[in-house]
């Protein structure tokens, strides 16, 4: 790649579309100086994300062009094993890194480990992986830069159309077009092209609008959080605006709950799945997350007593900052934001009921 490209990226203000939102120019500059190989991350690892697959399915030529601009030292395309994305990449004759279908396996350092013959588990990062990393067995792994597929596609667009075009989308702080993956109770679930600064409601409208009146909106998947219907109504879809709620748009996932779904039941199901995602490398992840998920399941079933409620909040408070990686932090933030957004529903459940499913549960009880 040329120094010109780094300047273009700097001027455009492109940030990583994988969720962390780190400046792409900084990362690419480091990759150039370290002579890093490139991994294009097309895993859609976040719950609800489908946009990497969308980029591969609809903009593969531009994606490959962007990767070729960036990856002078070798390029691999990471995709979940057995996914449509993987077969599309293979059909195009690209060097595919086949990644196990696991939440933590598509994390940057897990991909680097897998690409170098190790397990697809996150590693301890002493320095950013772009400067090289150390495997659990002590081997030195070469410098590797991992960029999200949408990010690489944006690089090609910026090289082609220039920073001014890029900055004509979004806000001054969060410029550029971006993709959102909208799922749940919407008429046309899937990927929408949008930009930071629009309303959360606008993103939902772009996916055909809510199929029923919404019962809550989840943003950023398992590392994000929840907005109540009232909060979602006026909320702006940007990092700056969502900071007030303690999370970010992440990689752009938007999940709409219908008003006839119990939000706590939904969150509980997600937490149960999260409890099985641990890479088994630290206690908070192996035991803390499942313990919190267990209590949350009792809450969702309206069977949590006051002692349990105290314990659940205590455990969610203990998870952040104690793991080897940030997975427990993300899960705790996700669960806590649901307790905030659905506080009325939490009160109803602690009182032994559920305003959404009460009627059906009573019918069930009578039947039993």
């Amino acid at each position: 790649m040329t120094p010109d490209l780094v300047d273009l990226l700097e001027d455009s203000g492109l940030t990583g579309r994988g969720g962390a939102g780190f400046g792409t120019a900084v990362k690419v500059r480091a990759a150039v100086s370290a002579g890093a190989t490139l991994i294009v991350n097309g895993c859609d690892g976040e719950y609800g994300a489908v946009k990497d697959g969308y980029v591969v399915a609809h903009h593969l030529d531009e994606l490959v062009h962007g990767a070729n601009l960036l990856g002078r030292n070798g390029i691999r395309y990471a995709a979940h094993r057995g996914s449509r994305t993987e077969s599309l990449l293979r059909a195009a004759g690209l060097d595919v890194l086949s990644v196990p279908q696991r939440y933590v396996s598509s994390e940057e350092s897990a991909l680097v480990s897998l690409a170098n013959g190790g397990l697809a588990r996150p590693m301890t990062k002493r320095v950013p992986v772009v400067f090289g990393s150390t495997a659990p067995d002590g081997r030195s792994l070469p410098p590797t830069v991992v960029l999200n597929a949408e990010t690489v596609w944006r690089v090609a667009q910026i090289a082609d159309r220039g920073p001014a075009w890029f900055r004509s989308f979004g806000t001054a702080d969060e410029p550029g077009p971006r993709l959102a993956s909208v799922s749940g109770a919407v008429l046309a679930p899937g990927v929408v092209e949008t930009a930071a600064g629009v309303g959360v409601g606008d993103v939902i409208s772009a996916a055909g609008g809510a199929a029923r009146s919404p019962g809550g909106v989840g943003l950023g998947g398992l590392s994000g959080g929840w907005l109540s219907p009232a909060e979602a109504d006026g909320a702006v879809w940007s990092r700056a605006a969502l900071a007030a709620y303690g999370f970010t748009p992440g990689p752009g996932t938007v999940h709409v709950l219908g008003e006839d779904e119990c939000p706590l039941q939904h969150v509980s199901t997600v937490l149960d799945q999260a409890a099985g995602e641990s890479a088994g490398q630290c206690g908070p992840c192996m035991f803390g997350v499942p313990a919190a998920a267990e209590d949350f399941a009792l809450l969702a079933a309206a069977r949590l007593d006051q002692g349990g409620w105290h314990r659940l909040r205590e455990r969610l408070g203990l998870l952040p900052g104690r793991g080897a990686r940030r997975f427990p932090d993300g899960v705790a933030g996700y669960a806590r934001s649901s307790l905030r957004a659905f506080a009325d529903e939490v009160d109803a459940h602690l009182a032994g009921g559920c305003s959404v499913t009460y009627a059906s549960r009573r019918a069930h009880a009578v039947a039993v």
């Binding site: 279908q101 696991r102 192996m286 035991f287």
Partner: protein, 187 residues
Amino acid sequence: MNEILWFVSRATGVASIVMLTVVLVLGMLTASRRPPQGIRSAVVMGLHRSLALGASAFLVVHIATAIIESYVNIDAISAIVPFTSGYESAWVGLGTIAVDLVAAVVVTSLLRHRLSERVWRAVHLTAFLFWPLAVVHGIALSTSDEPVLRGLTIAAAVAGAVAIGWRVFATDPDTERRRAVALQEWS
């Protein structure tokens, strides 16, 4: 008098086996993946140490009486150097090795504060060797005509074997979860 010494030697020998087996079981508890917690850990540790010293006293009497009495031919040398006794050289020899190991374990434990943890631990691990030697020595010698003594020795053998098995095979929740996760698809 000679006969009394012979009976004292046999009695203290069996008592030593029983006590050392209790010491072994307590040690296995302490070193296992699910060690006793809180006040119980202090009780287990205290018993382990006190009983070990107590058993050593019985061992000293057991050996001294065996040397002094003249019913069988065991001299002072063969109490230290294995396989040198005139009487049942092989079975007495196993007991001699066991005693040498016990002496090493006791001395290094008494001097533990002056030794590196690695040295102490390496010597302490020979307890895994000494105990079966002592049990075989006990079963092979002098208990054959006494069902009570033989029964005690065999009971000690079973108890110690169970404790060792538990020490080796018992796991903790951490190990179990890591093992289970490692079996999933990771590459």
